[in-house]
C-alpha cells in the first residue's frame, strides 16, 4: 500500500493542495507503517482537513562535508558531473566547490583578505544539499518537479517536469541547487556518492539524515 501511495505521490499530476495533502499522507505512512495506516484509513485522516501542511518523507541519508579536510581540488564536482551529466563539467555538478574557492560562497567583500576562501582566511566549504525536511526548493517549484525518491527519500528533480524557471535556485538557503548550463534543468544532489569516491582526503560522506 505504501508503494502505491508513493507511486501516486511521485507520478500523478496534482494540484498544489493535493500535493501537500498527499505529502502529509506520505509522511504519516512512512512514520506509522503500512498496516497501521490501513487500519486508520487514509481518506479519513483528520490532518488532511487542516490545510497548511508541508512535509515530505524523510530522506535516509545526506551528504556531509568536513570542511577542515577540503583541499579545493574540485574532484567532487568533476566526479558528480561525470556520473550525472556524462561529461567533465563542474558547472553542471550538484556539489559546488569551485565557485566559493577564492572568496567563499558569498563572493568578495572589501575585507576579502579576512573573509572566506583561499584569497582570505582559507576557509573553503563546498555548497551541498542538506535534503531539508521541508525543502523550499520543492515548495516553490511551480511544476512540483522536486520530489522525494521512492527508495531513499532524497529530494530529486524530475527532469521531465522541470521547465528551468530557476525559482528553486533563489529559494534554496544553502545555494546548493543550480541549473544545467545547456538544458536549464535544475541540478541537485541525489546522494549518489560519486563525489565521495573522488575526494582525495575523505572529506565527504553520506551520513544518516539530520535536520540542519
Amino acid at each position: 500500500m505504501s508503494e502505491h501511495l508513493l507511486d501516486q505521490l511521485l507520478e500523478k499530476e496534482t494540484t498544489r493542495r493535493e500535493f501537500l495533502k498527499t505529502a502529509a499522507k506520505g509522511t504519516a505512512a512512512l512514520a506509522l507503517g503500512a498496516s497501521f495506516l490501513s487500519l486508520m484509513g487514509c481518506s479519513k485522516d483528520p490532518m488532511q482537513e487542516k490545510g497548511n501542511l508541508t512535509g515530505l518523507p524523510l530522506p535516509q541519508g545526506m551528504l556531509m562535508v568536513n570542511s577542515d579536510l577540503c583541499i579545493g581540488c574540485g574532484r567532487c564536482e568533476l566526479a558528480c558531473s561525470m556520473a550525472n551529466a556524462g561529461a567533465a563539467q563542474p558547472a553542471a555538478a550538484a556539489i559546488h566547490s569551485d565557485r566559493g574557492l577564492q572568496f567563499g560562497q558569498n563572493g568578495p567583500k572589501l575585507n576579502y583578505r579576512y573573509g572566506d576562501g583561499l584569497m582570505g582566511n582559507g576557509r573553503i566549504e563546498p555548497a551541498i544539499c542538506r535534503q531539508c525536511r521541508a525543502p523550499l526548493c520543492a515548495n516553490v517549484c511551480p511544476q512540483q518537479a522536486i520530489l522525494p525518491d521512492k527508495e531513499t527519500g532524497t529530494r530529486t528533480v524530475n527532469a521531465e517536469k522541470c521547465d528551468g524557471c530557476g525559482t528553486c535556485i533563489s529559494a534554496c538557503p544553502w545555494q546548493a541547487i543550480t541549473q544545467h548550463p545547456e538544458t536549464g534543468v535544475a541540478v541537485k544532489c541525489i546522494t549518489c556518492g560519486s563525489c565521495i569516491a573522488a575526494c582525495p582526503t575523505g572529506a565527504l560522506a553520506i551520513t544518516g539524515w539530520t535536520d540542519l
Binding site: 561525470m82 568578495p108 583578505r113 548550463p181 582525495p200
Partner: protein, 698 residues
C-alpha cells in the same frame, strides 16, 4: 579523429582595434596543446623582427592542454608564451591553477592576444561573450585587489590572470599571477606593454569523455596504483609500515604525528599508503619539506589545483605577518616559498653599527623594535608581496641577487648616495618586514636604478664578484633561468638545462630522485626510455647510448605533459608507489588515458612526435629571434656548474651532441629543412631561410 577534449576553437583578440574573432585550432595543429600549440602559434603569428619584448607586435598566447579540464589528476595546466623580456627569445611557461580549466570550459583551446590597447583594459571572457573593459580603476593595484575587484564585478568563480604594478611598469622579471601561485615570470611586462591589466575567464561548458566507463576504470587504477606524490616521489620521507624504502627528500612526507597544525580540528596527515585513495590529498606538505616539521604548525590546509589529488600548495596562518601590515593568511604554491626564502637577514646576522660618540642619552634610548621572524614568515611575506606586486622570483634567483648585492656592498657602490640612503637600513638590519614591502614597491615602480635588480642582468650590471659564482648564488644556465637543483645529475642534465631551463630535465630529475633504489630506477628507465644497454645511475655514470635515450625521453615527455595540459610536478608518471606494480608505471599510461578521452586510440609515438614538433618549433624561434644559426653557442653551461659537478667540457659537449641527435637536429643543434617538413612545420624552414639570406647579405 573525433576529439572530445579539444574544442577546435581559438580566441584571437586584437587589442589595438579592439576586436575578437574565433579561428580554428586546425589552422595551427591537428592535435596539439600546451607548449607545442603555443610555439606553433608563435611560428605563424610572431613577427620575425621586433624591437624588444615590449614591442606592440609581440604576441601573447595562452594555450590549454589537450586534456586540460578532463579530470585526470593534474590536468589543469596552461602554457603561456611570448617573446621574453628576460631572454630576448620566445619562451613558454606552464601555469597551473584555475586559468587553464576555465579556458577549456569557456570553449577555447587557446587565446591569442595581439596589438596593444590605447588605454588600460581587462578582457572579460564569459563563454562565447568577449568584452574589453576599462581597467583605469585597476591600474596601479596589486594582483590580489585586481582579482577581488574583477570577481566582485563578474562573479566569484571567475579565474583571473592579472599583472601588478611591476607588469604595468614593464619590469623585465614581472610575472602574470593567478590564484594558487601560478605565475609566468617575465611575461607580466608583455601584458603591461599591451595595457592589458587582466584576463578574466568564466566557462560553464564541458570536456567530453568518449569512453566514460573505460575512463572511470582507468582513473581508479591510476589513483590506486600509479599516482605518485608531487615531484614524482613514490616513497615516504620517513620509514612507514607500507613501504620498503624511504628518502628524506621525498615530497611524500605525511607521517603519524604530523598535523595541519593551524586547522580547526588539527588534521593528522598520518600514513597515506598507496591504494588509500581517501588520503591521497594528505600525502604532501611541501612547506615541511622546505622548512622543517615546525612549519606544520602554521598549516591551515594543503591546497590543490583543479582535479589534482595532491595538494602541494599550502594555506598558512602566520599571525606575525600582521605586524608588518600583511594578511596573516597566505596561500603559497609548491615552489613559491622555496623561491622566496632568504630575502632578509635574521636578527643578529648583521651586527649593530657602532654608535657615534656625540649621540645623546635621549637618542640612544630610542630603539628600533626588533621583530624576530622565522625563515618561513620571511619567505611567506616575500612570496605574498612578489605575487601582489607581480614580481617574478626567478626560481629563487631574485632573493640571492638582492642579498648578495646588499651584503657585499655592491648595491651601495652601484646606486647614487641619495637613492641608497633613501632605504631605511636599520629596518633591514633588524629584520623588519616593512623593509621588504619597500623593496617590492620600488621594484614594482621600476623607476630607479635599484630596479636593475629586476632584470636578468643584475649580476653583470652591478659587477658581482667572482665569489658570486657559486652553487648558492649564481644562475645556472646560459639562458639565465635559475634552477632549483641542489646538484645536477651529470652532463646529461646540464645539457638539458642548457637547451631549455629546467623544464626539459624535470622528468629525468624526478625519476632519478623518486626515492627508489638504483636498481629499481634502472628497471624503470629500461621500461620507459627503451634503453637497451645498462644504465648505471649510481655514481652518475651513464652508458652513452642509454644516456642519449634518457635525455631524449625526458625532453619529449616534458613536452608531452605540456601538450596534454598535465602538471609537470606529477607527469610523466614513470615510477609507481604500489609494491605490486613492481614500482614501474605503465609506459603507455598517458597515451591510454588520452585515447579514452578522445575516443580513438593514440600511441605514445604519436604524442612524442608532436612533442618533438613543439621542441623544434621552439628551437627555430630561438634561432630566428637571437639571429643565430649556430644555436649551440646559446647552450653553454657556466664554468662554475662544471666545477661544482666535476663535469668536463668534453662531457657536456658530448651530452649536447647526443641531445641534438635525439631531437633530430644537426651537429650545432639546428633543425634542418627535411625534419621541419616531416614535422609539418614548413613555415619554420622559411623563417630559417630568411635568416640565412639576411646573414649572407650581412
Amino acid at each position: 579523429m573525433e576529439n572530445y577534449a579539444m574544442t577546435g576553437k581559438i580566441l584571437k583578440i586584437d587589442l589595438s582595434t579592439p576586436a575578437a574573432e574565433i579561428v580554428k585550432t586546425a589552422d595551427y595543429a591537428e592535435l596539439s596543446g600546451g607548449a607545442s600549440l603555443a610555439y606553433r602559434i608563435l611560428l605563424k603569428e610572431l613577427p620575425a623582427k621586433l624591437e624588444n619584448a615590449y614591442d606592440q607586435g609581440n604576441v601573447l598566447v595562452l594555450a590549454a592542454g589537450a586534456l586540460t579540464g578532463s579530470g585526470i589528476p593534474g590536468s589543469c595546466s596552461v602554457a603561456v608564451a611570448a617573446l621574453s623580456p628576460i631572454t630576448g627569445v620566445p619562451c613558454c611557461h606552464q601555469m597551473n591553477g584555475r586559468i587553464g580549466t576555465m579556458l577549456k570550459y569557456a570553449g577555447y583551446d587557446a587565446v591569442i592576444i595581439t596589438g596593444a590597447s590605447a588605454s588600460p583594459v581587462w578582457v572579460n571572457i564569459n563563454n562565447n561573450e568577449v568584452k574589453m573593459e576599462s581597467a583605469t580603476f585597476l591600474w596601479g593595484a596589486g594582483t590580489h585587489d585586481t582579482t577581488a575587484q574583477i570577481c566582485a564585478t563578474v562573479g566569484r568563480e571567475a579565474a583571473v590572470a592579472a599583472i601588478g604594478p611591476a607588469g604595468e611598469n614593464k619590469l623585465d622579471i614581472a610575472s602574470i599571477v593567478s590564484l594558487g601561485g601560478a605565475t609566468a615570470d617575465g611575461l607580466g611586462g608583455v601584458m603591461g606593454s599591451k595595457n592589458l591589466k587582466a584576463i578574466a575567464l568564466r566557462g560553464t561548458g564541458a570536456v567530453g569523455i568518449a569512453d566514460m566507463e573505460g575512463f572511470a576504470s582507468a582513473m581508479d587504477e591510476l589513483n590506486k596504483t600509479w599516482l605518485p606524490a608531487p615531484g614524482g616521489s613514490v616513497v615516504p620521507a620517513k620509514a612507514q609500515s607500507w613501504s620498503d624504502y624511504h628518502a628524506p627528500n621525498s615530497w611524500w612526507n605525511a607521517a603519524p604525528g604530523l598535523y595541519w597544525g593551524a586547522s580547526a580540528s588539527g588534521v593528522e596527515t598520518g600514513e597515506c599508503a598507496p591504494g588509500d585513495t581517501a588520503r591521497m590529498g594528505l600525502r604532501t606538505l611541501s612547506v615541511v619539506r622546505d622548512f622543517g616539521e615546525k612549519a606544520a604548525d602554521a598549516v591551515v590546509r594543503a591546497v590543490a589545483c583543479p582535479s589534482c589529488a595532491s595538494g602541494c600548495a599550502t594555506l598558512l596562518h602566520l599571525p606575525a605577518l600582521e605586524r608588518a601590515g600583511l594578511s596573516p593568511y597566505q596561500l603559497c604554491g609548491c615552489e613559491a616559498l622555496r623561491n622566496a626564502r632568504g630575502f632578509m637577514p635574521k636578527v643578529g646576522e648583521i651586527p649593530e653599527p657602532e654608535k657615534e660618540k656625540e649621540e645623546t642619552e635621549e637618542e640612544t634610548a630610542t630603539v628600533v623594535e626588533h621583530f624576530e621572524y622565522s625563515d618561513l614568515e620571511i619567505a611567506a611575506a616575500a612570496a605574498s608581496l612578489a605575487e601582489d606586486f607581480g614580481v617574478g622570483l626567478l626560481g629563487g634567483q631574485l632573493a640571492k641577487n638582492f642579498r648578495y648585492a646588499v651584503d657585499s656592498g655592491q648595491m651601495e657602490a652601484a646606486l647614487a648616495k641619495a637613492e641608497y640612503g633613501s632605504f631605511d637600513w636599520e629596518l633591514y638590519r633588524t629584520g623588519n618586514l616593512s623593509f621588504l614591502i619597500d623593496v617590492f614597491r620600488r621594484l614594482g615602480k621600476n623607476n630607479s636604478k635599484f630596479a636593475v635588480l629586476g632584470t636578468a642582468d643584475a649580476a653583470e650590471t652591478w659587477k658581482f664578484g667572482e665569489e658570486f659564482q657559486t652553487a648558492d648564488t649564481a644562475p645556472v644556465c646560459s639562458l639565465k633561468r635559475a634552477l632549483d637543483a641542489d646538484k645536477l645529475h651529470g652532463a646529461a642534465e646540464a645539457a638539458l638545462a642548457a637547451v631549455s631551463g629546467d623544464e626539459l630535465r624535470r622528468p629525468m630529475t624526478q625519476l632519478l630522485d623518486c626515492g627508489l633504489t638504483a636498481d629499481a630506477v634502472e628497471a624503470i628507465i629500461s621500461a620507459h626510455c627503451g634503453a637497451k644497454t645498462a644504465v648505471k645511475v649510481k655514481d652518475d655514470i651513464l652508458v652513452p647510448d642509454a644516456k642519449a635515450e634518457l635525455m631524449g625521453w625526458s625532453a619529449k615527455q616534458s613536452y608531452v605533459a605540456s601538450l596534454l595540459g598535465l602538471c609537470s610536478r606529477l607527469w610523466p608518471i614513470s615510477a609507481a608507489p604500489a609494491k605490486e606494480s613492481g614500482y614501474t608505471a605503465n609506459p603507455a599510461l598517458t597515451a591510454d588515458l588520452a585515447g579514452l578521452v578522445w575516443g580513438s586510440s593514440i600511441s605514445s609515438e604519436q604524442l612524442e612526435k608532436e612533442a618533438q614538433t613543439g621542441l623544434t618549433a621552439a628551437r627555430v624561434l630561438q634561432c630566428v629571434h637571437a639571429q643565430n644559426l649556430d644555436p649551440s653557442t646559446l647552450d653553454a653551461v657556466s664554468d662554475w656548474v662544471k666545477a661544482e659537478d666535476s663535469l668536463t667540457e668534453a662531457a657536456v659537449t658530448a651530452a649536447l651532441a647526443q641531445l641534438y641527435k635525439a631531437f633530430g637536429w644537426n651537429a650545432v643543434g639546428l633543425p634542418e629543412e627535411k625534419l621541419l617538413k616531416e614535422l609539418g612545420i614548413s613555415h619554420a624552414a622559411e623563417l630559417l631561410k630568411t635568416l640565412e639570406t639576411a646573414e649572407a647579405e650581412a
